[in-house]
């Protein structure tokens, strides 16, 4: 039994390793803000959100669409989905409560009785799940949910519930435990195996009188304590395998509930985020993912979801068509929204690739195989290396892990030296990346670098500029345009110090 709500044909692996640059991405894109909005204080939801968003880069186009459809179902039937989620959570909690440590017992008999107890609870939970499926399955359209409900219907028939119930009561062994054995080393009994008597209706005693094979009986006397211990050990040897089977079954059912909970947790997180953004009136849309080999990036009203989550008022969205572009160079005014824009590029890409909606009126881009960020960092406090040294070493780490069809976001990189040298480094690195089919977004003040590319008039490069109105005010909107020599630091100075001249 599998939930298969994250992948069509496999489990969602919560233990899967995050990409090696997970820390840098989390920091540069302020992902924790996003995860917190999805988790609403629930640690488990946070963990799943983090895993799902960051490992989405490895998933294919089909998976993105598979999840989009499921998410649409969730948005339509949010309370049912939350009910199913709650059943999974309750099952897991109830197992924890009844866990009297029998899982670590040395006695198969106590493992067996502990397992029976837990299984009774699980069976009632599975029945609840089955009831929801019976009642609401027709409200869901996505392939994922349809298959999920069909699976419940098929696997959890009434007959099946009856046969489990039957076992659970038989395993209490009211007629005694029947064990077969053979002679092992030194004629000691071995291969103890639990057996089921031939005829259930006829009691064992009656059968004995019906057959002619001799039967010998002996009793352990009440005072014989070591005899009693030996007897219960024999009993335990017989129960060993069945106790294991039952205990493992509780584990298996638990892991079914755990997987169900894990996979639904992603969608519950999406529902939480969706609710929050909808409340603010921010636009959301399901993005159109394109194959990784192509070069697409076009959107309307794309905003930085993390900024939106931390501001009261609505945020400014951007419209860009960068289809068929490999390189986007963003220049312009300080505090003109360049970093925010770059973050919105990264966030929307991650959200799209894990199957979520995009923070935009419309959004389409090619899927990338990896997302990397290279941001200017604070001065290294450990004094281990100079700033440029540190930057280049981080760049080298990225190069160790990057592949073609990845996406790389530079934010004021290589500015820790003079402009000519910085530009040359940036130029050489960027040119190489482009040749390796890596999509590059570069926010920079390096005029020589930016204008150098502009002069080449390459078809696959697009230039954006942080807009500045004639009165010096920023709109936080980016427009296409030639890189300019100054980044309006004067403006900033003036704003802060006041225009006194």
């Amino acid at each position: 039994m599998k939930a298969f709500l994250m992948y069509k044909d496999r489990d969602f692996d919560l233990q899967r390793r995050l990409p090696p640059n997970e820390q840098a991405l989390t920091q540069d894109l302020e992902l924790d803000t996003l995860f917190n909005a999805m988790a609403l204080g629930d640690k488990f939801l946070f963990e799943v959100a983090e895993k799902a968003v960051l490992t989405g880069l490895n998933d294919d186009l089909g998976t993105i669409l598979y999840r989009q459809h499921i998410l649409k179902d969730c948005l339509k039937n949010s309370s049912i989905v939350r009910d199913i989620y709650d059943i999974a959570v309750e099952s897991i909690e109830s197992k924890k409560k009844s866990y009297w440590g029998w899982g670590f017992s040395k006695y198969p008999s106590s493992i067996l009785y502990g397992s029976i107890e837990v299984l009774q609870i699980f069976v009632s939970m599975l029945k609840k799940l089955k009831n929801i499926a019976d009642e609401h399955a027709d409200k869901f359209e996505s392939e994922g949910f349809t298959a999920f409900f069909a699976m419940l219907n098929k696997e959890l028939s009434d007959e099946y519930f009856a046969s489990i119930q039957n076992h659970l009561s038989e395993l209490k062994f009211r007629d005694g435990v029947l064990i077969s054995a053979e002679l092992g080393k030194g004629n000691k009994g071995t291969n103890y195996m639990l057996r089921k008597s031939h005829d259930k209706k006829q009691s064992w005693m009656k059968r004995i009188f019906a057959t002619k094979t001799p039967i010998y009986t002996f009793y352990i006397s009440d005072r014989d304590e070591s005899g009693a211990r030996a007897l219960s050990e024999l009993n335990d040897r017989g129960l060993n395998l069945v106790a294991n089977a039952l205990a493992q079954s509780t584990d298996h059912i638990l892991s079914f509930f755990t997987m169900l909970r894990t996979e639904l947790a992603f969608y519950v997180g999406c529902l939480n985020l969706h609710g929050r953004l909808a409340q603010k009136g921010e636009p959301m849309s399901f993005p159109l993912p394109i194959a990784p080999g192509e070069r697409r990036h076009s959107f309307n009203g794309l905003y930085d979801v993390c900024l939106a989550l931390s501001l009261e008022q609505r945020v400014v969205g951007n419209d860009v068509n960068a289809d068929n572009k490999d390189l986007m160079i963003i220049t312009g005014a300080n505090q003109g929204g360049k970093t925010t824009f770059l973050r919105s590029i990264g966030l929307s890409q991650l959200m799209m690739q894990c199957g979520m909606f995009a923070p935009a009126e419309s959004f389409s881009s090619n899927v990338c195989d990896g997302l990397f960020s290279h941001y200017k960092r604070e001065e290294d406090t450990t004094m281990k290396s100079g700033k440029l040294d540190e930057e280049l070493s981080r760049m080298s780490n990225i190069v160790d892990n990057i592949t073609s069809n990845s996406m790389l976001l530079f934010n004021e990189s290589f500015a820790a030296t003079n402009e000519r040298e910085g530009s040359e480094i940036a130029r050489q690195i960027t040119s190489a990346l482009l040749e390796k089919r890596i999509k590059v977004f570069f926010v920079t003040h390096l005029y020589e670098f930016a204008h150098g590319f502009y002069d080449k008039k390459m078809e696959n490069v697009i230039f954006l500029r942080a807009e500045r109105q004639s009165d010096g005010k920023r709109t936080f909107k980016l427009i296409e345009g030639e890189p300019l020599q100054t980044s309006y630091g004067e403006d900033l100075y003036n704003r802060i110090f006041g225009n006194t001249c």
Binding site: M1, G186, K188, M193, P214, L234, L241, H252
Partner: protein
Amino acid sequence: MISTYYNSILFERTEDSIKKETLDAPVFFADLNLDQIIDAITAGRQEYNLKPFFYSSLNDNDAIKYRHEIMRDLENKILFEHIKSFAQKMRAMREHLAQADKLHYKYQKESWFLDAVEIYCDAVNCLVHDLTIADLKSRGFFDFREYLTNYANSDRFTSLLAETKKLKADLSTVKYCLLIKGNSIKVRKYESEIDYSANVEETFEKFKQGAVKDYRVTFSDWLEMNHVEAKVLDLVAQLYSDIFLNLDNYCTKNGNYLDETTGVFDREIQFYVAYLEHVALFKRVGLKFCYPQISNKGKEVYDYEGFDLALAYKLITENSSVVCNDFYLKDKERIFVVSGPNQGGKTTFARTFGQLHYLASIGCPVPGSEAQLFLYDKLFTHFEKEENIKDLRGKLEDDLIRIYNILSQATLNSIVIINEILTSTTLKDAVFLSKKIMEKIIQLDLLCVWVTFIEELASFSEKTVSMVSTVVPENPALRTYKIVRRPADGVSYAISIAEKYRLTYDCLKERIKS
């Protein structure tokens, strides 16, 4: 009746066999560190009590050859492994017998006994097979193979084997059921009831999700039975009374199943196995062993690339390298006089000489690439005792008494090894006494190694050969542990030290400005 020429894998002829096995090592063992060597060789084989074999030297060339042949056969890896596997089985057999002895319940004891016999039969049959396919060259193995083959084909053995197999097969058919309820146990034969665990597992199969914890409890499987198990077994024996009656009879009848000659072989062959396994340790690091030529007339001896087996063992375990040395005596040469810097390997050289001769005398290969050694009648050592005796005169006296005793027991065919004696007197005395002793030794025509600081002995006569321990010329503090044939000048060593400190004549001329 089995008839064969085979006597023993250690001695071809009955009259050569050790009359009375001794646990006392020969007196020179400690001086030559042979005690360490034999301890290392026999370690982990206490059950065979091999030391008496290593304590008795042979005084017959042919008896030595008999062992060489067997050693050479055993250098075939396949045969060697087969012999080891035989030994392993015999060991398992003994363990089973010991266990049977320790246990209390009859049917349990009998089962262990039955297993012991089964292992024994298997050991014999396998060995017969292995020896048959082996390309044997030695008289010893050849005769033993014939003996063992005859034994394995004898009625005594074949019927033992058949009975054992039948009984094992019968016991393996025993299958019974227990019904445990409250404090009662019912025992009866098994009647094809289905495996309920599998049945339950099947029901829950659909929930399987990858690997989960294994909840199976591991029961401590004591060899002993508790009284409940024993009671059950008694009832099972009643259910299968024929089989268990046969088991009783079998055990009564076959108490003396073990063939004595085969049992002795199992012990004696360990002499070779132990030695060869020890040798393998050294071969692995590139050290060489050879089968020495044994002469009992000519006293020309030699050994190339030899080493002290006790020291090498220590060095190998420390991952240090081992220095090999050569020696030879030809024509009239009889006596090595070893001198030179201390800690340079002089004592080691003396020990090596003694070890080589002793190991050769018990029919073993010796350290070295090529060797000819003398079949001596007696070996004497005189090593200085480590503790200083307060009364100097007493010690000198003691030294002289000991050397007197040695020389009075020694014959023309003896070997004497002397290490730094007469140190507790004046040089003049020492030179005088040494020369006197040397005269005696020469007179007896003894083979001798004499480690001494008295260089006068080195060129004493045509029978003496001077051997010197050496140092690295550039750094005299470093020993090479090489002992070379060279006149005992003693000067080269002093000169090299002087050079190092720029105190030579030439150096001083230069350094001292006029």
